[in-house]
Amino acid sequence: MFNYRFQWRQAWARLPEMLDGAIITMQVAVLSMVIGILLAIALTVFRRSGSRVLSGIATTWVEIARNTPALFQIYMAHFGLAGLGLHLSPYASLLLGITFNNAGYLAENFRGALKAIPDTQTRAGRSLGLSDIQAFRHIVLPQMIRISFPTITNQMVWAVLMTSLGVTVGMNLDLYGVTQDLNALTFRTFELFAMAAVIFYVIVKIIQAGAWLISRRLFRY
């Protein structure tokens, strides 16, 4: 049964290529989070807007993002859109798919966070002469971000792990894609994927440590 011969040195020699892949993975995750958070804020505003069209768009988005597999969302971004005539590179498709997913999940979390902020906060701001938008921007939004910060961190971790789904649309620049290609070249399957797993683990730990540091700096109240 166990007649597999470990050849760590051969796999270890590929570490630089894998680390290059890890950089791309981080890049996709960070971009998808930055855009995802902005979109989620927009979706949250849409849902509060009172406009049926806007809140309909936002609700549909959130429903699809949360209730279908992330793999499906990435597939649609690549093959689905290609069917409609919009051909995106694997990188762009992966980024789009994960961003869509992030925005949906975060919008739902933001909605929950908003419920924890009393309406009287906005009212107090309005009574000081702030406009509705100013009150949201300076009073509600900062509190919303603080309340949902742990879930934002979680989603960031998910974004990193979801990049591994990129191989299904031909993405081979990220950590998982690089590892897959190296495996096809060298057949050091266990060694390569074990290394990839450790790198993913370290990335996640770095994110968690970073989030802790940010929260200590930002939320002193």
Partner: protein, 240 residues
């Protein structure tokens, strides 16, 4: 001058203000007393346009509050309001709480807003709390911060909506002292309150509201000494 003319206001089918007529002059301190649900708090939120009205009009220094053409954000700079729940912004320090509106609404430079904030906070006795977050303050301190926050916009009128009702008894005094201070400085104030002693001391006039109607209005000596309205007589008997 605040002119209130035949103002009616309903929440659904419940009419909470049934035709209020009232004029508050510059420099006057008016207190409003009355039982729960008498409409006294609602009147305040109508004066600064936080609530729409169903009929009548409210005119502040010649500007009709509920006219479509009125810029409410501009009007509200003139009219400070402090609520029963002080609504401190928890993510901002005490000083930042007070600086927010001058900076964002008036577009004041940071240094100038900081100076005004620290002046107003000293005024209400919180000069040593500038960099503290509101969560560290007592209710009375937070309420005084809310007063400083409203004053920082240098309003011409201040509305106080039962500002001591949510406080522990031992903290009421410090907030009332702040109100007394403002009254002595000539601020035009409308105070909705349950503090009868305070109403008697600081008011130029006291108004008694009952079920959406202003049943009686008179200088405190008359209103407390010689109440004419039977509901007011009952109310005073019950509160003493």
């Amino acid at each position: 001058m605040i002119e209130i003319e035949n103002v009616r206001k309903s929440f659904g089918t419940l009419e909470v203000l049934k035709g209020i007529d009232l004029t508050v002059n510059k420099g006057e301190v008016l207190t409003v007393i009355g039982g729960s649900g008498s409409g006294k708090s609602t009147l305040l939120t109508c004066i600064n346009g936080l609530e729409p009205i169903n009929a009548g009009k409210i005119v502040v220094d010649g500007t009709e509050v509920h006219a479509k053409s009125t810029d409410l954000n501009r009007l509200r700079q003139k009219i400070g309001i402090v609520f029963q729940q002080w609504n401190a912004f928890p993510h901002l320090t005490v000083q930042e709480n007070v600086m927010l509106a001058p900076r964002k609404v008036k577009g004041m430079p940071k240094a100038q807003a900081a100076e005004i904030a620290s002046k107003q906070l000293k005024h209400v006795g919180l000069g040593d709390k500038l960099d503290v977050y509101p969560g560290r303050l007592s209710g009375g301190q937070q309420q005084r911060m809310a007063i400083a926050r409203a004053l920082a916009m240098s309003p011409d009128y201040m509305l106080f909506d039962e500002v001591t009702s949510a406080l522990d008894p031992q903290l009421v005094g410090e907030v009332l002292d702040t109100l007394r201070l403002l009254a002595s400085e000539g601020m035009t104030m409308i105070c909705v309150t349950h503090e009868m002693k305070f109403a008697r001391e600081v008011s130029d006039r006291v108004a008694f509201f009952h079920q959406g109607v202003m049943a009686e209005i008179a200088p405190p000596a008359d209103l407390f000494g010689n109440p004419k309205d039977p509901e007011l007589q009952k109310f005073l008997a019950a509160t003493h």
